[in-house]
Subunit: 234 residues, 2 copies
């Protein structure tokens, strides 16, 4: 490690205001929803925004740890899937001056944080189809980019499964993918690739509802990394 330069003081530098934001998706009532927080202070006081904020230089060990902390503060849980998305920066996106946000993209089951979110007025699940245009900062662009990333993942991976409860049926998983992608998918193809990749484990349980009971599955940990060599039709 190089020596720490003498007389170095960050406050002497002109650096951008750097923050971290999280785009947390879930699925509920056949809709893809994103977590929004109402801002309590300027800038954009009263507007809805992504959960996020300043890095805590004393506590945060990495930017991903910071993003997880922000999401836990708003939902009470750590999302089972998180990955870094992209960063946005420029002189005009924050009225306080040149700013950067490092955005993360995460998934969680609606049931896992239902009570935390429902109990406070300044946090809500917003369907992505009915997003208003007047979100704080450039958060509308950030959500659009996260949505597109999720859409790609739905075409070549089983990552969307992490927006479902621990145990789910194949029909639930497929209709989630269909909501994300925006088109119908072929049932046989969808199931065939899942089976041959061995990404799910059978819980032995089944649903109880009208019609034939559906088997309940759990996603294996490897399914986070797995990438099919061929996309489904988008």
């Amino acid at each position: 490690m190089a020596a720490k330069p003498r007389n170095y003081n960050i406050h002497d530098y002109d650096v951008p205001l750097t923050t971290v934001d999280g785009v947390l998706f879930t699925v509920h009532e056949d809709q893809l929803k994103v977590l929004l927080v109402q801002r309590g202070k300027e800038p954009f006081e009263g507007k809805w925004a992504l959960p996020g904020g300043f890095i805590d230089l004393k506590q945060d060990e990495s930017i991903e740890a910071c993003a997880i902390r922000k999401l836990r503060e708003k939902t009470g849980v750590e999302p089972p899937y998180i990955e870094q998305l992209l960063s946005w920066g420029g002189p005009d996106r924050d009225p306080r001056g040149w700013s950067v946000t490092i955005a993360f993209f995460a998934l969680v089951a609606h049931s896992a944080c239902e009570s935390s979110v429902a109990s406070v007025a300044d946090v809500k699940w917003q369907p992505v189809q009915t997003l208003k245009k007047d979100l704080a900062f450039d958060h509308r662009d950030v959500i659009a980019a996260a949505h597109e990333r999720l859409r790609q993942k739905a075409l070549y991976s089983m990552v969307p499964a992490f927006a479902l409860p621990d145990e789910f049926t194949l029909t639930e998983l497929q209709s989630l993918h269909e909501v994300i992608i925006g088109t119908q998918l072929n049932k046989k193809s969808f199931r065939r690739r899942l089976e041959s990749a061995e990404l799910l484990e059978d819980t032995g349980k089944a649903t109880e509802s009208r019609g034939r009971p559906a088997k309940l599955y759990r996603a294996k940990a490897e399914s986070k990394q797995y990438r099919f060599i061929r996309n489904l039709e988008g």
Copy 2:
């Protein structure tokens, strides 16, 4: 736009030291090479590092514009392909304190900046196969991530073409992909997918060398976005 808060001063905040770095790849003599710059001051004085540095809050209009500027300063040209990679941050990666770097991944033809790079002692093209371990900061990790991203792109896109001169042969393009991916590829498959996607245009010219002359092609602009629905075997 929200009102600018009164009495706001960035120097009152504890913010990380935010920088931008570029991983610029090219191909030369059948090797994938990355542009490195020797640091002239602390920290890591004398070590080799990625081209990059502070955002110029007066001039840079975005973080991508900043990355392009850094690369132009070292190579004399703007790379024909650039995209954001990821950001790295933490308390220990820079001895001056909590820091963040936003990394970009770019491609350029070796011939386009050969003279600029060869004329100065503190800039060099380093083959990625013989990267030393003692690069500045965590730049070795950043290069590894960029290399992996490039490898994925070589499997499902023609983006690597932007590391070649404007006009190139199919054999040159294929062997570039092979160098990036690290395995041999099937000639027929490689050409068939290029033809059906119509990503290249025939220049009408051909090489002059031993053996049958090879046709010269140019990449269409659309080839930056195009994504094959199926990967080649990696």
